[in-house]
Amino acid sequence: MRDVAVIGIGITKFGELWERSFRDIGIEAGIKAIGDSGISGADIDALYIGNMSAGAFVNQEHVASLIADYVGLAQTSHVPATRIEAAGASGAVAFREAFLSIASGMHDIVVVGGAEKMTDIGDELANSVQAMAIDQEWETVFGATYASLHAMMARAHMERYGTTREQLAMVSVINHRHGALNPDAQFRREINIDTVLRSGMVADPLRVFDMCPLSDGAATVVLASADIAEKFTDKPVKIKGIGQASDTISLHDRRDITTMDATVYAAKRAYDMAGIKPEDVDFAEVYDSSTISEIMAIEDLGFFDKGKGGKAAEDEKIALGGEIPVNTSGGLKSRGHPVGATGVAQIVEIVKQLRGEADKRQVEGAKIGLAHAIGGTGGTAVVSILEAMR
């Protein structure tokens, strides 16, 4: 298997981009990444697009063809373009498929985009579309919402490990603090614990500020076989390890709702491939679709012992300047969560940090970064470990 490197990154502003279409943002991120990478269109062998639900959000399917067309790759080079859907992990799974296509020797240079346009429809409908990632026949029909399932995880974690309501709030506080430093973030305002605790109740014990927003946005990365990466960039970033895993689609069928086994297995695969341990990771982008999902992630990834994630948030071990900075981009909560884009946006942040281009949110001495994405409530997980090649 060949080594693979990231040679270019591009991202749009995340937020409610009413004046911009799905096509506009997909193209913007793509052009930025291709520009950043130093390649030209003729060098591209394939295109992968992570997208959860363009059909429901903007009435458009077949979006890989659409994006290939408008980035100018359909009519001349006729590159294969493939759309990947894995709910919130769509972008991350697309990234892994692109990695595999190069590692296998099939392709040399591949572009991976992630995009979602969620604000062309009303919030109620958008929430219902997002909830399609949970089991429609055995969860949704009985009245379960995405937030209520996270709330059940939170309650179980609180009752078993003593995680407090304030500790959950700290996750949101830290992510907003980081997001305020990210010019591309949706919410660039610091908040405090009271902001979270006074926000409206969504599904007890979780409130509005525990949950990630609805967002528009797109992100793109360009991958190349490591042996040719330096022809295009002087700052290639190697994909050192990557793992994907599945679990039951319904939360109730899980072995334990305070752990996401998909994360545990994806992480083990990624760590084994990279030949490293959790303590070797300098910083991470993890999937904080809710505050409890970040706490579970930092435990399941091995950064903290099971049950100690809440305390780690309280002690700011996951803040910039802490033991292991998490979600320096602002995470899903503050940077925003255009579902299909998130997995790719996480890679963009990791690469910025490893290149030393993260400006005010730069992690000092960042050498190894980890990205973690989840589909649904944990039915899919992808963990990627990246390292600067020089």
């Binding site: 029909v141 379960a144 919402t145 179980a156 109740m201 599904a203």
Partner: protein, 132 residues
């Protein structure tokens, strides 16, 4: 949700019919065609079973911001319930104050209206749980 899509799942939603693996004896709800533990050995050996409908609360949430079809009932309690035979499912808990629900609480299934498909559409029925 359209009518055939609901109708197809009536045996599970009305009568709590699930499966038992004829190879290892493990119970499943809803029905499964293959046992995730026995794989090939369970092929053709999955039997239909009706569950007793009693169990306990594993975790729960009080929903304040539901899907519009459920907004008449809010706030309502969603829970993960472990049936006495072993399988777990997601259901509302009714016939008690939300504040009285707690982890470990004993509950039993009851047949209720779940939601309406608009003002003139089909009414969906199925299980909810209440204190035992």
């Amino acid at each position: 949700m359209n009518m055939p899509r609901f109708w197809r799942e009536i045996s599970g939603r009305y009568n709590l019919i699930g499966s038992r693996c004829g190879n290892c004896g493990e119970y499943f709800f809803p029905k499964r065609d293959i046992c995730p533990k026995c794989h090939r050995k369970s092929m053709g050996k999955m039997e239909s079973v009706k569950f007793s409908g009693t169990g306990k609360v594993i975790s729960y949430s009080i929903v304040h911001d539901p899907h519009p079809a459920y907004s008449d009932m809010r706030p309502y309690v969603m829970a993960i319930i472990e049936l006495d035979e072993g399988p777990k499912l997601t259901s509302q808990i009714v016939d008690c104050e939300p504040e009285d629900v707690h982890t470990g609480m004993r509950v039993k299934a009851t047949f209720r209206k779940l939601a309406e498909d608009g003002k003139e559409g089909v009414i969906f029925y199925g299980y909810k749980f209440k204190p035992e």
